[in-house]
Amino acid sequence: MTELEAKIKAKIPGADTGIEVRRSLCAICSPSHHCGVDCYVKDGAIVRVEGTQEHPYNHGKLCTKGSSLRNYVYRADRIKTPLRRVGERGEGAFEPISWDEAYRVIAEKLNTVKEQYSPHAVAFFSGYCKWYRPVFQRFAHVFGSVNFGSDDSTCSAAKAIGDRVTAGSGAGPDMAHANTFLGWNYDGYYSAHLSVQGVQKLKARGGKVIIIDIRDTPAAKNLADRFLQINPGTDGALALGMAKLIIDNGWADLDYVEKYTHGFTEYKALCGQYPLDKVSEITGLKGEDIYEAAKLYATNGPACINYSASALVHHINGFNSHRAVLCLSALTGNFDRAGGNVPNPATYLHKPAGFRTREQEFRTNRYPGGQKRIGAERFPLWDAQFNEFQAMDLLRQLETGDPYPVKAVFALGMNAKMFPQTDRLLEAMKEKLDFFVDTDVFMTTTAQYADIVLPACTSVERGELKAYQGGYLTFTKPVIRPLYESRSDVDILCDLARVMDLDDGLLKQGYKACADWIIEGCGLTVSELEKSEFPVKVPAARWPAVPGKTLENGFKTATGKFEFCATAIADIDPKYGLDPLPSYRDSLEDQNDPQTRQDYPFYLCTGARLPHAIHSRAHETPWLRSLRPFPTCEVNPQDAGRLGLKEGGDVELYSPYGSIRVKVKLTHKIKPGVILMLHGYTEANVNLLIGRDHLDPYSGFPGFKGMRCNIRTVQEG
């Protein structure tokens, strides 16, 4: 091998090797991340991926998933051309068709449903990734439908609504100035890799870390000064109990409470119902551990809290559990204070960047009205607080046609496995829909039910607008041509707007025109952003967020204060039984009858994060899949010993709603009585076990992380 051949084999970039480094971003996970990537490109193909050192967000770092980006992009299950179904829905038999033909069929079918029923009979639904959503939501509204929905029906929106009705906005931890970090459900190692460094720095300067989790995680081992391994689903009780200790011991910031909060008397009375012995009993924690954690958080300030996007709100008591944790921040005077939790509104697509865009106007200024959204009757707080339909009511409305029929679904990246009792949803879609179109990067279970399937490209094959912390904005460029006949989601939408001649000049002009409209006023245009391969500092950006603005100008709530007792909930018709206070209920209260307790003694928690997976979208990536080749549930050895379960053995995991076959992994990291199961596997979809009505009445979110189940061994074969 010559020296040059060796350099090419080692993928050293340079003119001699013909390997060029081109910049893009990784969009495998949540848009609140999306790290910058260096794609090493040779002869039009990516040969290697690294994190971009110069990128202001990730500074060269990538997580496990991002490091496998090349393997993800070149997966064998990429959809290659537009497809038309030729077999039964769900059978997976398709024929390739041209883009023009696909667009013609889609336009005709959607317009037919619109004419025969109403525009609202077309539900527009977005799964991951979320980047194209402003264009998609506007498309739905311009088409005339009120029904735009997304995976936000089960992801982070419940937390956002909880924040809004309580404090007027969310507030992130100000790690750089905190003395104590209360990492409630925090495991950055698995789900937010860039956040770990902030905690390490806090510790290095003598700060203290409390980790509260149901699982003994790397954060518990590497970061925690105090680790509270809590019984799953009992976080709300712990938060109220900690509040009682804080009030009783004089650790509360009563000046702050007096000046900036609403409903303290009622909140104090609620907390009074959670004495230490009772909380210890509910949470499975030692009284002294709860006491020390509460004392550390309240007296070693300033102290900030990590609020997880899903860990708490994926319980049927989760909305109020999150609010109960949030209230600790105001009780101790840490909300909107340096080193506490500081409001920092999103600039674009969940990312705070210190400047305003017209994203929300773009999404909603063509809202047609004229009909209630799906789920509005059943989840009135959701409907009042979030401008999408609540998809957890889609199945019921499909089945009953009440209050009006849904006859078509236009989806991008729809994942039926996200829905409890997935099989029922797919069955209803098969039977009830006149037309279903799905767009995806990969052929999925859901896409197999579609009448038309469109191939989308990945982030490295397209350009997209993205804001970043620090006051940055970028418009990426494709590093390779779209594979096969795939297209960018936004180009598909804008093409269709032209084919259907929708009444919207912006959509018909295309994505860049839309992006320019959204960022107008920030001081930069798309064509200026495109000149840089890195994110550009936005002239209008003010960064970092200055603490105290909310205290000075008032909270964006009805009373202008932090509301322990939320007016927005009190305004909901009392017949729904929603409590304005963050009261605690059992997370299995709909399954606690003696027979169900006896038949399904285990607490099933699905979706606890592992570093190689994100929902279902990474499971079929060979390098990632090799880390855990089989769908596997985690069981405490004590339970395993009692039931005769062996490491690596085959078991059936079942609930009253369904069952799956998986392997067993024994682990001391969870308590006896708890079973963990990662979600999103096609061959072992654990959401089959979650009851369709096992939902939090405040948000409509399913109790993914709290469900009764049982386990038994099965024989090979």
């Binding site: 060796a6 350099k7 084999k9 080692a10 993928k11 050293i12 290697r48 991926v49 690294e50 994190g51 060269g60 770092k61 990538l62 997580c63 496990t64 991002g66 490091s67 496998s68 090349r70 393997n71 190692y189 698995y190 890799h193 860039l194 770990v196 460094q197 390490q200 003994d216 790397p218 081992k221 590497n222 570093p611 190689h612 060979p622 390098w623 990632l624 090799s626 880390l627 682990t667 001391h668 990291k669």
Partner: protein
């Protein structure tokens, strides 16, 4: 300049990003029987009535006195004089697996087609071109680093991979 892999078990979480970086660099074809040169371990060790969690990442340790080099009957393995990494040229490999028997860490792997040995070479050419080994580049937590012998001596961490086993600190649960 000789280089040393350094591993800090207090920063590792076995997330396996290092493995992804390694497979990306080495075009590991799992369906063709290939295996990643690096391996992570998420281990629970029961001892004295308690349970210890250990998160590890390991590959070829690039031992100073590498037993695989002497074990190879056809001289495939050698030390790169510049980087100090244990490198190989498997042109003459006969697939006898003597190197694997000699290696205490199971670093050598064998191709399914032809049975020739392959292993971690420390990303020798990357390092010679001023780049980090792929696994180090992929580590977000500072658990896995690669430094020159001089920097390692000055650093004083004592956490060179070859000293990994001794340096393992296990926290009681």
């Amino acid at each position: 300049m000789k280089h040393v892999f350094v591993f800090d078990p207090d920063k590792c979480c076995a997330c396996s990003a290092c493995m992804m970086g390694c497979m990306d660099q080495n075009d590991t074809d799992l369906s063709g029987g290939g295996r990643c040169y690096r391996q992570t371990f998420d281990s629970e060790i029961e001892r004295d009535g308690g349970v210890y969690c250990a998160y590890l990442s390991a590959a070829c340790m690039h031992c100073a006195d590498a037993p695989c080099i002497d074990a190879c009957p056809v001289g495939c393995l050698s030390k790169d004089p510049e980087t100090g990494f244990t490198v190989y040229d498997n042109t003459n490999c006969i697939g006898c697996k003597s190197c694997a028997l000699a290696c205490p860490f199971g670093a050598p792997r064998y191709r399914r087609d032809g049975g020739k040995m392959v292993k971690c070479d420390g990303c020798n050419i990357r390092v010679k071109n001023g780049l980090q080994p792929a696994c180090v580049r992929a580590c977000s937590f500072g658990a896995l680093t690669c430094m020159t012998e001089e920097d390692y001596a000055a650093d004083g961490s004592g956490k060179a991979c070859s000293a990994l086993i001794d340096a393992l600190t296990l926290r009681r649960k």
